[in-house]
Amino acid sequence: MPRLVRHILESLEKEPSPRLIAISCAAILGLAAGDSILFFFTRRILIGASRDVEFEMREDLFAHLLRLPPRWHRKSRVGDVMSRAVNDLSAVRMMIGPGIMQAANTIVVGTIAVTLMALASPTLTLVALAILPFVAVATQVMGKVTHRRFTAIQEFFSEISASAQENISGVRLVRAFAREATEERRFDAKNREFRRRNLGLARLNALYFPMLQALVGVGFAGVLWVGGRKILAGELTVPRYVEFNLYLMELVWPAIALGWVVNLWQRGSASWNRMAELWAAEPLAVESAEGPLPGGPLEVKDLTFAYDSGPPVLRNISLTVEPGTTVALVGRTGSGKSTLLNLLLRLEEPPFGTIRLGGRDLRDTPLPLLRRALVAVPQETFLFSDTLGNNIAIGRPGATPAQVERAALEAGLGPDLATFPKGLETIVGERGITLSGGQKQRTALARALLTDAPYLVLDDAFSSVDTETEERILEAVKARSGTRTVFLVSHRLSTIQHADVVVVLEKGRVAGDGNARGASPGRRPLRGAGRATAPLRRSRGGVAVADHLPEDEAQGRGFDRGILRRLLSLAVPYRGYAGGALVVLFLESVAQLAGPLLTGAAIDLVFSSKESPRKGAPPSWGGSSSGSGSSLAAPALSTPSPASTSSRSSRRSGSCS
């Protein structure tokens, strides 16, 4: 396009012809249209692709996390994993999408410009490129430091979000203990540190980009100096020099963009490393869920187990459980009951050869089969923010509404459902927050009862249920599960008396076992049954989509003065900075505005002084052929300001959100 413009201008001096002008204008438009269309597609494709990659990566990451062993999850902090899966992922996306697009752009424009420059004047090209090593070194250093600082920022971001998340999850406790002020102080300290680290990175950019501009300025000055002497010596024509300068200006933008790309790239790779740490964890092997369910006796032989490198929690446990028996595990707090059950469920991995199910080592039993055979009510209840019905149906995706309801009734939820207008369609809050403790626990119980697994593990599953309700539930469970093997943990004797065998754990050892005393009382029919509930709607087969909770969709206009005013008011405490920046910006703008006036004047001067200009002397509209004032101003004029640089770069690179 510069060439076209030059041609028009040239023709204006030589043989003014409206036709030529029209043609050239049309050509400009055509070129622009082509460029725009190309631009449209590259954006769409490249940035779109980066979104696709983001989607894929997030999905793969989630799938990976789902298959990481429970021990891994036990040790990780949700907030930390979240920040990697959200924040770091987006930095990686920026590297892939905008980063690559910009890099490609830079390389293409840079190569073309350098080639054309070399054609115009090889010597001057060398002079101009002499700054390259310095740019390279500066960029290298900047990249390294960016990498380091950005990693530090992301690490701290993890920390800040994990602790904020705990605060939010534990809100009732914070309130109950009136710790709001302390929590704010703790957060404030982290927030400050986070700001400090961010400013450290920002300062790096504040140093780097102006330095880059200064280097470019030096390059221009060098070209002017060498070029000027050559012109004086008659080795170079003015038009060539002007043309050269024109291309050099085209190079300024790629040089600046390069810094931006390196920046993105370093951030991305820092984040990538953090994500890679997640990927490095070994997932559970994928095993087939097909095959006969394990069954038969469960033998524990000389089991000793310790968490990580701690002292053993279980010592030399040996016991055999025949199918169909109900085993009660009792013992004081911390004696190892849950640990034993978690080992049976393989939430912790038992050492090889210590636990056998139906004659097969538990470690050799495919996990999906084991999970089908053993179903558990964990000691700590977890419900999803979904309907009660869906929460229950989790264990058996194909269950009919009637089956779900029956399980709910068996778990003693009947009276509660009667008080919920929506019955099983009632949506519970996150972790079941809108239910009472006992309701939560019984929902988890119903979830287990709905499956027809031959082994049922109840880890203190009645701790929040009153004795009467508990009694009723246990009756129902026993009535239906004649052949089920049941493991019960309880601190209540009323529960334990339902067991055939009682195992007492004491400090990780079996203290003695025998039959529980007291015969089970007569079986009473389940009460509270037969209440009609709203028909169950099976929603989407998926569980727990958080949007079940009312969405806070925003209304109102996009451009809202109120919002704008509030946004601005946020900046009020920092108006000093804003003012200072504005002054700098203003000075720069004035310099920018003055440039073209000078150039135009200079050109007219040249043309008026030499009535008939030398043939082929193209007036320049970028550089200047005379008047050192405007030439010197050139670099400053044409280098984009940092603000416009960053915005321009983000524009080219698409939505950064």
């Binding site: 203990f177 929040s464 601190h491």
Partner: protein, 507 residues
């Protein structure tokens, strides 16, 4: 230049810092009910992702926006001074530009909003499933969870792709229009030069200015964009900030007696979490200072709700809750709660050491107090066994302890503050009876003369209470001492008979 970037980033970081502080502070005061209906992941999105979206606006937006405007104004002035006709021509493309911008604005606004909503959804989903990963795995829900996540994740991607569409039309369109402007100048200007009414220099000047004119213009639309994105996220932030807590200190809060005497009175209290679903239907009772009140009743009968109302997590719908003779609504909630020691039904511990948890991160609490509290609740043997003792690090939610041990730690936390009123909501439900007996003795000793409210399913815990309230369906059905209630032969007598079997079995 350096200064400018430095200053704007100081401003940007400063604004974000302030916002995070304010959001966090607001979350510390927001109604507990907000947390009942908002997933943690969504609140986290406000605090992190949404705040980050403002970064660009403040670091590269506002200031250079003003700069751009100044440049534009200057250029327009110069152009008109040079040649009004040509100036008008080159400004003519502004009209289609405005149209394009308007189209973009409308489209982009909606997609931005959608992106914000959906990223919050992605975050909530991840958050929830990572928290409940054990359940997902135990019930073999991996595939299903993955499928559900794909939907949520894809919604987010689609929203983003939509916004990319608007972008990728918008910028090339502007580029093209600026080329149109240039061509127009050349064409018209060229004609003028041929006619001799204009110099080449003037045309060149014009071209240069128009080039300089379009760039800030495009920057301007970019700024507009940033603004739009910032508004979409600040909209949600402000929404959160504007959520005026209904449970807050009145303008002139009643002074909280120090120390509290410990008189509690429920007077005809009615309460519903959701309209029309009344959970408490007129509960009245009174606890004199130093008394122990026990609440028993079937699950879901409203015991924990009474506790929540006493702490003023929620406000009653009708009636009054009074402490030391003053309606709790007249106190500043935080100051008021300071006098309580509470064990909530859902045990919650923080990441940190056992000692930090017992002291609730209060560095001023003496180590001896923490140790004493731990011993009082029977944590002694455990602490002796742990190599790091009180300084054992716990992971999220108290990971690293058995459930009963966690409950004991949270019990110790309540005792360590030497409360005037002790509230125990199923505080020992996961603790074995022997340990429970140890605690009971300690509590008896520690809390002589203090008021306590005890909720328990295990009646052994409560037989010695001064008064037992039997709740059923949100009403107090029976009330009296253990002996009185047994003599009455009602609900309580039946519950007790059931549990008596325990004792017989134990004997």
């Amino acid at each position: 230049m350096f200064l400018m970037v430095e200053w704007t980033s100081r401003m940007g970081q400063g604004v974000m810092f302030d916002l995070r502080t304010r959001i966090f502070g607001n979350l510390q005061r927001a109604d507990v009910a907000l947390y009942d209906r908002t997933p943690v992941g969504r609140l986290m999105t406000r605090l992190t992702t949404d705040v980050d979206a403002l970064n660009e606006l403040f670091t590269s937006g506002f200031v250079s926006l003003l700069g751009d405007l100044a440049v534009l104004g200057g250029i327009v002035a110069i152009l008109y001074a040079l040649d009004p006709t040509l100036a008008t021509i080159s400004l003519g493309v502004l009209i289609p530009m405005a149209l394009v911008t308007n189209w973009f604005r409308k489209g982009a606004r909606d997609t931005y909003r959608r992106v914000r909503v959906r990223i919050a959804r992605v975050n909530s989903f991840l958050q929830e499933h990572l928290s409940g990963i054990a359940v997902v795995q135990l019930f073999r829900r991996e595939e299903a969870a993955q499928g559900a996540f794909r939907t949520v994740n894809d919604d987010h991607r689609v929203a983003n792709l939509d916004s990319i569409f608007y972008y990728s039309v918008f910028y090339p369109a502007l580029d093209f229009l600026s080329a149109v402007g240039m061509a127009a100048i050349l064409w018209w200007g060229g004609g003028e030069v041929i006619k001799g009414t204009m110099t080449i220099g003037a045309v060149v000047t014009f071209l240069q200015y128009s080039k300089r004119f379009y760039r800030p213009l495009m920057d301007l639309s970019e700024k507009y964009n940033i603004l739009q994105a910032a508004m979409a996220s600040s909209e949600r932030i402000f929404q959160l900030l504007d959520e005026a807590p209904s449970i807050a200190a009145p303008p002139f809060p009643a002074p909280v007696p120090r120390p509290l005497r410990g008189e509690i009175e429920f007077d005809g209290v009615r309460f519903a979490y959701k309209p029309d679903e009344e959970v408490l239907k007129g509960v009245s009772f009174r606890a004199e200072p130093g008394e122990t009140i026990a609440l028993v009743g079937a699950t879901g009968s409203g015991k924990s709700t009474i506790v929540s109302l006493l702490l003023r997590f929620y406000d009653v719908t009708k009636g009054e809750v009074r402490v030391d003779g003053t309606d709790v609504r007249r106190f500043d909630p935080s100051t008021f709660r300071d006098g309580f020691g509470i064990v909530l039904q859902d045990t919650f511990l923080f990441t940190g050491t056992i000692a930090e948890n017992v002291a609730f991160f209060d560095p001023s609490m003496p180590r001896e107090t923490v140790e004493r509290a731990c011993h009082d609740v029977g944590l002694g043997p455990l602490l002796k066994r742990l190599p790091d003792g009180l300084d054992t690090k716990l992971t999220e939610r108290g990971g690293g302890l058995s459930v009963g041990e966690k409950q004991l730690v949270s019990f110790a936390r309540a005792l360590a503050r030497d409360p005037r009123i002790l509230i125990l909501d199923e505080a020992t439900s996961s603790v074995d009876p022997e340990t429970e007996a140890v605690i009971e003795k300690a509590v008896d000793r520690l809390l002589s003369g203090r008021t306590s409210v005890v909720v328990a399913h295990r009646l052994s815990t409560i037989v010695r209470a001064d008064r037992i309230l039997v709740l059923a369906h949100g009403e107090v059905r029976e009330s009296g001492t253990h002996a009185e209630l047994l003599a009455k032969g009602g609900l309580y007598a039946r519950l007790y008979a059931l549990q008596l079997k325990d004792r017989e079995a134990a004997a």
